[in-house]
C-alpha cells in the first residue's frame, strides 16, 4: 500500500510510514501501471506483499518575490471545470506576506489544506545537507501548546489524511479532513510555523530515525545510482546532494543548526497556503486570517544559490553493489519549469518514455507504445524503462531509467537508447504523436481532478516554481507545442555534451532460489 512518490533519484523524502517510496509520482507513475509486480516493488521499497486486492476492507486505500505590504485580494474569475461542478478560486496575500490560495470544490464533504515553505535541499550547504528534511521531521515533535502527537492524533481521530514532504526546492505539510474539522489543520500549521520546540532529546531520537531512513534507501540500487548521478551532474549547485542528506552531516548536525534553519525559512512571507474543498471562500479566508495573520513576517529568506556552470562533456559514473540486476540512468540537464521550453520537453519526454503523470494522487498510465519501450523492451534489451522531467526552480535533469535484461550489457542498451535520441534530433516527429501526448495529458488531468487533495496539492506546488497559472495553462501550452519545437529541444538539451550516464553493476551475489 505504499503509495506515492516522485522519482527516487530526485529524492523527495516523505515522512510517514507508507509514503517513503515511489508510486504516485509526478512522472514516475507512468511506467508502473502494468509492470510485473516485482519490477514495481523494486521502486517502491514496500514491504507489504499484497495478497491480492481480494483482501482488506476500507483500506487506504511562483512568485519569486515576497512583498510584505501587499494586501490586495485578487479575485479570479469563476471557472467551470466540467459537468455540473463549478469551482471558484481566490488568490491573495495577507499583510504578513503569506500567500493564500483558496478553491471551492463542493463534490464531497472534504477539505485539503497544504502549507508550502520555500526551503529544500536547494537551500543547504555542505555540512548541513539533509537539514531541511530533518526540520520537517521535527515539526511533528510538538510546540508548548500542542506537545508531540496531540494534534497528529486529533487529525487521525477525525479520519484525516496527513503527511509532509521535503524536496529539492520546497517542504510541504498537508492535512485532508472532513470539511467540518478543517480548523484542526489551520490551528496545527499556524502554531508550528513559529512555536516548534526542537527539544534536544527529540533531536537525538530523530537523528537515528533519519539515519535509519537513509539506510533503508541505501538498500535500493536505484537510490545508490541516483545519488551518484545527481552528484556528478551538479558540481557547484546545491542540487548536488540528495534530499535525505549525507550520512556524515546527519551524524553531526546539531539542535541549534536545525532551529536556525527553521527560524530562517518558516516565516509567513516564505510560505504559500493552499486550501481546496467544501467551503465558502469568504468564510475560509476569515479563518485563515484569524489563525495566520497575527504571525509576524520574518527576514527575507536566503534563496540565492551558486549556479551550475555549463557542462562541457559527457560524464559517467559506475556504482557496484549487491544483486543480479543491472540498472542504467541517463540524465540531461534541462531548463527550469518556468522556462518556455519546458512544455516542449514535456512532449518530448512523452514521446520518448511515455505520458508524464502530473498527479500526486491519482493513477498513471502505461508507456508501452513509447519510443524507448519499443526499442529497448520490445527489442529484448531491457525489462523496463521510464523517464521524466522534474518541475524545479533552477535547471535540473531529464532522467531515463532502464532495468537491463540479464543477458545484455550496458553498452548495447545505451547504444540503442542514444539511437532513439538521435532519431528525435534528426527528424520532426509526426503530428499524430503530439496529439496523442496531449490527449493523454487531458485524461490524466481528469483522473487527478477526482481528488480534492490532488487539486490542493497543485495549487501550492505550482507556486513553488512558477505560479498557479502555470498549472491552469498546462494543457493549452502542451497543445500549442509544434513538432519542430520537439525536434529543437531534443537538439538543444539531449546533446552528449549535456549528458550524465550512470550504470549500476551487480556483484552477482543475489540468491534468488528458495
Amino acid at each position: 500500500m505504499r503509495e506515492m512518490a516522485f522519482s527516487m533519484f530526485c529524492g523527495v523524502v516523505l515522512r510517514q510510514r507508507s509514503l517513503r517510496a515511489s508510486e504516485l509520482a509526478l512522472n514516475a507513475v507512468k511506467w508502473h501501471a502494468l509492470l510485473p509486480k516485482h519490477l514495481k516493488r523494486a521502486e517502491r521499497e514496500t514491504l507489504r506483499r499484497q495478497r491480492a486486492a481480494s483482501q482488506g476492507d476500507m483500506s487506504r486505500l511562483g512568485e519569486s518575490h515576497h512583498q510584505r505590504d501587499v494586501l490586495h485580494c485578487q479575485k479570479l474569475p469563476v471557472c467551470a471545470i466540467f459537468g455540473s461542478v463549478a469551482t471558484s478560486l481566490l488568490k491573495t496575500r495577507l499583510s504578513n506576506g503569506l500567500m493564500v490560495l483558496l478553491k471551492e470544490i463542493n463534490t464531497a464533504p472534504i477539505i485539503s489544506h497544504w502549507i508550502w515553505y520555500r526551503v529544500g535541499s536547494r537551500n543547504e550547504a555542505p555540512g548541513l545537507t539533509g537539514i531541511s528534511h530533518w526540520v520537517e521531521h521535527m515539526q511533528f515533535k510538538g510546540t508548548p501548546r500542542y506537545p508531540t502527537m496531540v494534534l497528529d492524533k486529533a487529525i487521525s481521530r477525525e479520519g484525516g489524511l496527513w503527511n509532509a514532504f521535503t524536496y529539492l526546492d520546497w517542504t510541504t505539510y498537508f492535512e485532508t479532513l472532513p470539511a467540518d474539522k478543517i480548523d484542526l489543520a489551520l490551528q496545527l500549521e499556524a502554531d508550528r510555523m513559529v512555536n516548534s520546540l526542537f527539544d534536544p532529546d527529540e533531536v537525538a531520537s530523530e537523528r537515528t530515525v533519519i539515519i535509519s531512513e537513509r539506510q533503508g534507501s541505501e538498500n535500493e540500487p536505484l537510490f545508490l545510482l541516483g545519488e551518484e548521478l545527481q552528484s556528478a551532474a551538479f558540481r557547484v549547485h546545491s542540487y548536488h546532494h540528495e534530499v535525505i542528506g549525507d550520512l556524515s552531516d546527519l551524524q553531526t548536525i546539531q539542535r541549534e543548526d536545525l532551529y536556525r534553519h527553521y527560524r530562517s525559512y518558516y516565516t509567513p512571507n516564505n510560505a504559500v497556503l493552499a486550501i481546496a474543498g467544501d467551503f465558502k471562500i469568504e468564510a475560509m479566508l476569515a479563518h485563515v486570517q484569524e489563525y495566520f495573520e497575527s504571525i509576524p513576517a520574518g527576514d527575507e529568506a536566503k534563496q540565492s544559490v551558486r549556479p551550475e556552470p555549463p557542462q562541457s562533456g559527457e560524464r559517467r559514473v559506475t556504482v557496484e553493489g549487491p544483486g543480479e540486476t543491472t540498472y542504467i540512468q541517463v540524465a540531461h540537464r534541462t531548463p527550469p519549469a518556468a522556462h518556455p521550453d519546458f512544455f516542449a520537453l514535456t512532449v518530448l519526454d512523452s514521446l520518448l518514455s511515455g505520458a508524464s503523470n502530473l498527479n500526486m494522487f491519482g493513477g498513471g498510465i502505461s508507456n508501452k507504445t513509447s519510443r524507448l519501450y519499443r526499442a529497448l523492451v520490445e527489442g529484448d534489451l531491457a525489462v523496463s524503462i521510464y523517464g521524466g522531467l522534474q518541475a524545479t526552480i533552477d535547471p535540473f535533469l531529464h532522467t531515463i531509467t532502464v532495468i537491463v535484461r540479464p543477458e545484455r550489457n550496458p553498452e548495447q542498451v545505451l547504444s540503442a537508447l542514444f539511437d532513439q535520441i538521435q532519431r528525435l534530433q534528426d527528424s520532426v516527429p509526426p503530428a499524430d504523436e503530439l496529439r496523442r501526448a496531449v490527449k493523454q495529458a487531458r485524461a490524466l488531468f481528469a483522473y487527478g481532478s477526482e481528488s480534492i487533495t490532488n487539486q490542493a496539492f497543485w495549487m501550492g506546488f505550482s507556486e513553488m516554481f512558477a505560479n498557479y497559472d502555470w498549472f491552469t495553462g498546462y494543457l493549452d501550452n502542451l497543445a500549442a507545442v509544434k513538432p519542430e519545437e520537439v525536434q529543437r529541444v531534443a537538439q538543444t538539451y539531449l546533446r552528449r555534451i549535456n549528458r550524465v550516464v550512470g550504470v549500476y553493476l551487480p556483484s552477482g551475489n543475489g540468491d534468488i532460489s528458495r
Binding site: L47, S84, E104, A179, N219, D278, M284, P322, G363
Partner: protein, 440 residues
C-alpha cells in the same frame, strides 16, 4: 487528557466553514446491481463530478490453483493476457489504450484475478472491449511469453534483493507452514522456468469463466448504459467446465516462537516481519480486529508500535502493523526496518507491545479515537471513482449488503474494548509468533 480538553475548547471557538456539499455514501438507492444470466455480477454508481470512469473487478481464479512445481502459473497467465488477443497484437492493444490516455491491467492474487482500468467516459466501451478480449481470447504469442518470462525472472531477482519482500516471504513460510498462503503467488525462478506457453493456454481455457466474476463501473454515465456495455461484451461468455475455487486447508498454528533469517549481503538495513495468521474478513470479529490493529500499529504515527519503536526508541523510520483480512486467514503482522545491529532489540520491543495488547484491554479513549478515525475517513476512502468501485467490490465480495456504508458507523461504534481484547487474544500470542528477518 487535559491537553485534549484545552484543544477542544480552542476548537469550539470557531464555527467550522463547511461542509457545503450534498453528499452521500454509496447506498441502495444509488448502487446498481444486476447479475447477467451467465453469472457475472455488474455493479455501478454514477458520478458526474469528473469526466472519467473507473472499472475494476475480479474473477475467482488465483494462485490457489497453481501446482507446486509450476508456482506462479496463475500470475504468469494474468500478466500475459494483454500480450496479444484474437483481434489485436501487443502494440495494437496498448496503442488503443495509450492513445486515449486509458489504462487496463491485471494482477493475480491467491484467491482472485483482479483487474482495473481507467478512461475518459467516452472511451469506456474501448476499455470493456479490451477487457473482454483479454479475458476470453488471449493468444499468448510465443515471443511475448518469452519476453514476459524474462521480465518475471528479473522481477524475482529484484525481489531476492529486497529486504522487505524477503522478510515477508520468510514470515509467510513460517506462519503458514503446509498452507497455500506460505507460497508466493509469483513463484520462484525454477517454477517460472517450468511454465510453457501451452500451460498458459490451458490455464486460461479451463480456469477462466464468468461464474463468480464481478465488475464494478463508476463514473459519468448511467447504470443502464453500463449494463448494456457489459452485457454486449461479456454477456455471452460461458465455460461449463469452470472449476470452483478449492477450499483452504486448516492452519497449523505455531506452538512456540519461530524465527528465521534470510541473509542478503551488502544491505544497510534489515527488515522484520512478525505476527501470525489473523481473521478472515468474513469472521464476525473482523471489525474488532481491525480497530485493535489500528490501535496497535496504525493510528496517528503508526499506533503503539510506532510510538515505542520509532518515537521513543528512535530505532526505525517505519514500524507499523497491518491486518490482511480477505477471504481466508490473512496475516496480522508488524513490520519494521532497522539498523541490522538493532534487530534483536526491536523484536523485543514489539513483542512486549504485543504482550501488553493481549494482556490488558485498550483504553476507552484509544478505542474511541480509532472508531472516530474509521468513520471519519469514509468520505476520503470513497472520494475517487476508483475508491467507490473498490467499495462496491468489497460489498459484493464479502456479502456486506448494499446498505453497508449506511450501517458502517454503527458497526464501528458497536465494538467494545472487551471484544478487542478477546480478538487480540485469539490471534496473537507473544510466545508463538512467526518472525521473518531479511538483511545483511
Amino acid at each position: 487528557m487535559s491537553l485534549r480538553r484545552s484543544f477542544s475548547a480552542a476548537n469550539a471557538f470557531f464555527t467550522p466553514p463547511g461542509p457545503e456539499s450534498a453528499y452521500s455514501v454509496p447506498n441502495p438507492k444509488d448502487i446498481f446491481r444486476e447479475q447477467l444470466p451467465n453469472g457475472i455480477v455488474v455493479l455501478s454508481r454514477a458520478n458526474y463530478n469528473s469526466p472519467s470512469v473507473a472499472l475494476s473487478g475480479y474473477l475467482t481464479v488465483g494462485g490457489l490453483f497453481d501446482p507446486d512445481e509450476k508456482l506462479g502459473l496463475a500470475s504468469f497467465t494474468s500478466a500475459a493476457l494483454m500480450r496479444g488477443t484474437r483481434s489485436r497484437d501487443f502494440q495494437g492493444i496498448y496503442d488503443a489504450l495509450e492513445s486515449v490516455g486509458a489504462s487496463l491491467g491485471f494482477d493475480s492474487g491467491t484467491h482472485t484475478l483482479n483487474y482495473g482500468g481507467k478512461a475518459l467516459v467516452e472511451d469506456l466501451s474501448l476499455l470493456l472491449d479490451l477487457l473482454a478480449e483479454a479475458l476470453r481470447y488471449p493468444t499468448f504469442p510465443l515471443d511475448q511469453v518469452e519476453r514476459l518470462r524474462s521480465q518475471l525472472l528479473t522481477g524475482l531477482a529484484i525481489r531476492a534483493q529486497n529486504t522487505g519482500e524477503m522478510a515477508a516471504l520468510t514470515f509467510d513460510q513460517i506462519a503458514y507452514s503446509n498452507h497455500p498462503y506460505s507460497r508466493p503467488e509469483d513463484g520462484y525462478p525454477e517454477t517460472i522456468q517450468a511454465i510453457d506457453r501451452v500451460g498458459l493456454v490451458d490455464f486460461q481455457r479451463t480456469m477462466y469463466g464468468p461464474a463468480g466474476m464481478v465488475i464494478a463501473v463508476v463514473g459519468a454515465l448511467e447504470s443502464e448504459q453500463v449494463m448494456g456495455l457489459v452485457a454486449g461484451t461479456l454477456g455471452d461468455w460461458s465455460n461449463p467446465d469452470q472449476p470452483k475455487p478449492p477450499d483452504l486447508p486448516p492452519l497449523t498454528l505455531l506452538e512456540e516462537l519461530a524465527m528465521r533469517k534470510t541473509i542478503i549481503p551488502g544491505k544497510s538495513q534489515a527488515d522484520i516481519v512478525l505476527g501470525a495468521p489473523g481473521p478472515s474478513r468474513l469472521a464476525p470479529e473482523y471489525m474488532a480486529a481491525a480497530l485493535g490493529n489500528n490501535i496497535l500499529g496504525q493510528f496517528g504515527m503508526m499506533g503503539r508500535i510506532g510510538d515505542v519503536v520509532r518515537e521513543r526508541a528512535g530505532l526505525a523510520y517505519y514500524a507499523s502493523s497491518s491486518l490482511g483480512g480477505g477471504i481466508g486467514p490473512g496475516p496480522w503482522r508488524v513490520v519494521a526496518g532497522v539498523d541490522p545491529v538493532n534487530v534483536e532489540k526491536t523484536i523485543d520491543l514489539i513483542r512486549q507491545e504485543i504482550a501488553r495488547f493481549v494482556n490488558e484491554p485498550v483504553e476507552d479513549e484509544e478505542l474511541a479515537d480509532s472508531q472516530a478515525n474509521f468513520i471519519g475517513r469514509l468520505p476520503l476512502t470513497l472520494e475517487s471513482n476508483a475508491g467507490v468501485a473498490n467499495g462496491l467490490l468489497n460489498i459484493e465480495r464479502y456479502n456486506l449488503g448494499l446498505d453497508y456504508y449506511l450501517r458502517y458507523p454503527d458497526l464501528v461504534r458497536s465494538v467494545t474494548v472487551e471484544q478487542v481484547l478477546e480478538t487480540a487474544r485469539r490471534y496473537l500470542h507473544p510466545e508463538r509468533l512467526a518472525v521473518g528477518i531479511a538483511g545483511p
